[in-house]
Every structure is written in structure tokens, then in C-alpha cells.
């Protein structure tokens, strides 16, 4: 008859955590949908300028990014520098060879977009040099990165 005996001591029932994974998964899916992968570790500070006509870049697979800004590492000086992938470029003449390594199967170089992410205080000389580099290899599609306002 012990089977029906009630314990004298009353235990606090364990909190039911069965729904916990569901909640976490929900959060997970939210972040998967709402965010995008980081492309690179930033070596330069880029403060983007706002523009009302900026349009979101649709297919990121065809886009390469050139960053121009002030180095985050003080040892690199205070002059604006160009960042290609994960490294600071020595000067702008590296842009064209770099872009040529970015060719993709079945796409001509003039179909690939180069997005310029430039700090708003940087002078136009460096930007103009980069554009001239890209033009010299027919990589003519440019996107001036700006904050959508």
C-alpha cells in the first residue's frame, strides 16, 4: 500500500524548462533573419555619411568592399588609409591588382560591383585615385556606401 502514500515532506516541483529551447530557438531565428555576416575585421574607422536615395545592396555575392578611413591602430598614423579585405593597403596602386584577384567564375569584371566605404571627412583625392584604378581595369560598377536616411 506504500504506493499511495504521500510523502510527508513537500518538495518544490522543478521548474518546467521544456519550453526553454523553443524560446532560445525563436531568438536564434530572429538573429539569423535580421542580421548579416560581418565581412571583415575593421582596421579603419569609417563614419558613413547619410543619403536619402541610398538603396540597399541586393546581391552581396557580387560586391567587393574597399574601406577608406582613419586607422584604428595608432601605430599606423593618422592619415586616411585604404583597407582591402583584412589588411591595410600600402597605397592606392594595390586596388587594381586586388580587384583582379576577386574575379568570379562566369562573371566579367564590369559586372562586379565595388562598394566604397569611405569616412565622410576623407578628402576626394584618395577616392578619385581608387576610382581611376578601378577604371583602368574596367571595373566600372561603383557603389558609394552611405547610411540610408
Amino acid at each position: 500500500m506504500g504506493r499511495f502514500n504521500k510523502n510527508k515532506k513537500k518538495n518544490v516541483p522543478a521548474v518546467n524548462t521544456a519550453a526553454l529551447p523553443d524560446i532560445i530557438f525563436m531568438l536564434l531565428f530572429f538573429f539569423m533573419v535580421a542580421t548579416t555576416m560581418k565581412e571583415v575585421d575593421m582596421k579603419v574607422d569609417v563614419k558613413k555619411h547619410g543619403a536619402s536615395e541610398a538603396v540597399a545592396i541586393e546581391d552581396k555575392d557580387h560586391v567587393d568592399f574597399v574601406y577608406v578611413g582613419y586607422p584604428l591602430d595608432a601605430a599606423e598614423g593618422t592619415e586616411p588609409r585604404i583597407q582591402l579585405d583584412d589588411q591595410l593597403a600600402l597605397d592606392y596602386t594595390q586596388v587594381a591588382p586586388w580587384k583582379q584577384t576577386k574575379l568570379r567564375e562566369g562573371l566579367a569584371i564590369y559586372e562586379l560591383v565595388t562598394s566604397l566605404k569611405v569616412h565622410e571627412d576623407v578628402g576626394m583625392r584618395i577616392v578619385s585615385n581608387i576610382k581611376e584604378q578601378l577604371r583602368s581595369i574596367d571595373a566600372v560598377k561603383i557603389n558609394y556606401s552611405a547610411e540610408k536616411r
Binding site: I24, T36, I57, M124, I142
Partner: protein, 238 residues
């Protein structure tokens, strides 16, 4: 036969796995959306040494100059950034009636099917006769422009278009800030988008910004012909 009770799977560690995934995504992703203004640079052209550039009329070119102190000079007159939009709009639209209303702004031409046909014929024969591969390519670009005009004519009939020579020239100096440059590019884009939007509504196609890049290519091409975007950039001198 007695049914055996299937033991419940222990889902206690499921939450841990989900947490792990969640943290991975938190670390490797950003919320930031990449947006920007798209432009096509002009192709580099090797012009033959005997090339004579076409005569450019003052009225066909709008010069926007930004100096190292971020001041604007439009057609050699100082201008505030907030007045630039009206000026660019005037450049496009002042003579849109087809009459010479404002002698400082570009004229508009009437494009008919006959003109398109004639030009396409001219360029096709020119391409056939041309031997230099490069020049052939340039001629093909010109032919392409007339093919697009013809397509526009076929969609909406004879139409008026801003002079083919009309162009906006941007001039910068070494220390012109990129922020100001973006502001100028944004204004140029805004004027063009607004005008295309106007045309788009006139034609009963709804809003220009709502057109789908993939599905409404024909409509977008027509609007691009009606409101062309021609920007040239001068070399930075100082």
C-alpha cells in the same frame, strides 16, 4: 502484446545547443544593412590621335564644383547646397516644353521612329566598315543607345528628350570631403529619381521606386531613356 512505453528523450541540453548557436550568430553577424548610391564609371577609351572632340555648347553642361573648404560653385557662381536641387531640376526641365525658354539650359529634341531607324542604319553600316576593334566597340555603344530609344518609341510613341549632349560635370579638389561629395551625388540621384517617378506616374505605371528591377526591366529602360543620368567627373587638379 503489451506496448512498451517509449522513454522520453531528454531535451534538457537542447537549450544549451540553441544557446551556443545563438551566441555564434550574435558574434559573427551585424545588424548593419549595406546601402549606397550606385554609379557606373565611364569606360576608359583610347581615342585615336586624330580624334576631334565634338563641340560642347555652354548650355549643355552644368558644372558643379566643390572646393577644399567644402564650398560649392555652380556655373561659376557660389551656391548653397540646399539650392542645388532646384538648379539641377531646372537644368533638366527648363526647356522640356520643346521651346527655347531658358537659353542657359539644354534644349530638348523630339525623337521619332524614323530618326531612330535612320540612326540605327547609319551606325550598323559604320560598324561593318570599321576595322579597328576598339572603335567598333565604341560604335556599338552608340548603336545600343539608339536601339534603346527605338524601344522607347515602340512603347510610348514619339517623345521629347533632353539634348544628347546635356551632361553634368563634377569637379572636386584634393580636400573636398567625401561627405559633401555624397551629398551632391545624392541630390543628383534624387532629382533623377523624382523626374523618373513623375514620368512613371504619367505613363500609369505607378511609383518609380516600386518598380521591380528584374520584372519591370523594360519600363525602367524606357524611364532611363526619358530621364537620362549623364555625369562626368573632371580630374582633380589641386
Amino acid at each position: 502484446m503489451a506496448r512498451r512505453q517509449i522513454e522520453e528523450i531528454n531535451a534538457g541540453s537542447m537549450a544549451d545547443i540553441a544557446f551556443l548557436l545563438l551566441i555564434f550568430f550574435l558574434v559573427t553577424t551585424t545588424m548593419e544593412v549595406d546601402a549606397g548610391i550606385s554609379r557606373d564609371l565611364p569606360y576608359k577609351r583610347d581615342l585615336p590621335p586624330d580624334y576631334v572632340p565634338p563641340e560642347i555648347h555652354n548650355r549643355d553642361i552644368l558644372v558643379i564644383m566643390a572646393n577644399s573648404r567644402d564650398e560649392l560653385l555652380v556655373e561659376d557662381k557660389p551656391m548653397l547646397l540646399e539650392n542645388l536641387e532646384a538648379k539641377v531640376k531646372a537644368f533638366y526641365m527648363d526647356n522640356s516644353s520643346g521651346f527655347d525658354v531658358n537659353p542657359e539650359m539644354p534644349l530638348w529634341d523630339v525623337v521619332t521612329g524614323q530618326i531612330c531607324q535612320q540612326k540605327i542604319q547609319e551606325f550598323t553600316t559604320a560598324i561593318e566598315l570599321e576595322k579597328d576593334v576598339k572603335v567598333k566597340g565604341y560604335l556599338k555603344d552608340d548603336l545600343d543607345k539608339w536601339e534603346k530609344r527605338k524601344a522607347t518609341f515602340e512603347t510610348i510613341g514619339a517623345y521629347k528628350e533632353i539634348s544628347g549632349a546635356a551632361v553634368i560635370q563634377l569637379k572636386n579638389q584634393s580636400n573636398t570631403s567625401y561627405g559633401l561629395y555624397i551629398d551632391i551625388q545624392n541630390i543628383l540621384k534624387k532629382v533623377v529619381n523624382d523626374l523618373r517617378d513623375e514620368k512613371c506616374r504619367e505613363l500609369g505605371w505607378g511609383e518609380y521606386r516600386d518598380l521591380d528591377v528584374k520584372e519591370d526591366t523594360d519600363k525602367i529602360n524606357v524611364l532611363k531613356v526619358l530621364v537620362p543620368e549623364r555625369i562626368i567627373e573632371a580630374k582633380i587638379e589641386i
